[in-house]
């Protein structure tokens, strides 16, 4: 029986997987590199990634949940539109539809060097809300997600 397997790379000790991130309502589609983070409850893209995708973060509503991470306190916003994540391998494609998606935003009162640091070190994360669908295997040079039956 064939298995759906999706591979990523470990770069600078970070297991990363590339996923097509689409918000049809915004006419946005971009490959996003996510940190495979089994310690995260929720998946999220960063303010940096949203900015590169030309999504105006200041127009997004705030999430009711704050997030604490390296660098300090984040003020999360929400993409309250359907987001489709596409995982792809040479043979297979698997789509996950999300009713909304978190964006980890830097609070507006944080500026200068502190803001820069938070942008530098905050990754896009693929958390357990998505990873629970997969068996996750991280090795020295690659990460592999296998879709559960």
């Amino acid at each position: 029986m064939s298995e759906f397997k999706f591979k990523g790379l470990v770069i600078n000790r970070q297991p990363r997987i590339s996923v097509l991130f689409e918000v049809k309502a915004y006419n946005v589609g971009k490959i996003v590199d996510f940190l495979v983070d089994t310690g995260a409850f929720f998946s999220a893209i960063t303010e940096k990634e949203a900015t590169i995708m030309n999504i105006n973060c200041s127009s997004l509503p705030y999430s009711k949940h704050e997030a604490v991470g390296f660098g300090g306190l984040f003020r999360n916003r929400m993409i309250n539109r359907e987001v489709v994540l596409t995982f792809k391998s040479d043979k297979d494609e698997y789509k996950v539809k999300c009713g909304s998606f978190l964006v980890t935003c830097i609070p507006p009162n944080v500026g200068g060097e502190e803001r820069e640091k938070m942008i530098r070190y905050t990754p896009n994360v693929l958390g357990m809300d998505i990873l629970r669908r997969f068996r996750t295997c991280v090795e020295e040079n690659q990460v592999e997600l296998t879709l559960k039956e």
Binding site: L9, V10, I11, N12, R13, R16, S18, L20, G29, K30, I31, D33, L35, D37, G39, A40, K48, T51, I52, M53, N54, G69, F70, K88, E116, I119, R120, Y121, P123, V125
Partner: protein, 72 residues
């Protein structure tokens, strides 16, 4: 096609990470077609270049030789 371009950029970054750490330590880089097309010291500065490129053809990365302890 998008996945292939992304994969090529990521593989090139992985293969060249040690060299990039020496040449672009503590700088943002934009990678396209197996080369660094721009580097800058701040994200706002690098965004000026990012806006001129197709975001699906580039990889934007902050390079740092000193390990940083990150906990999530």
């Amino acid at each position: 096609m998008l996945f292939e371009i992304s994969r090529r950029n990521a593989e090139w970054l992985k293969e060249n990470y040690d060299r990039l750490k020496k040449e672009y330590d503590t700088r943002w880089v934009v990678i396209q077609d197996s080369k660094v097309v721009k580097s800058a010291s701040t994200f706002d500065e690098i965004m000026g270049t990012v806006r001129k490129h197709d975001p699906n053809r580039i990889l934007v990365e902050y390079i740092q030789s000193e390990p940083v302890a990150m906990f999530f």
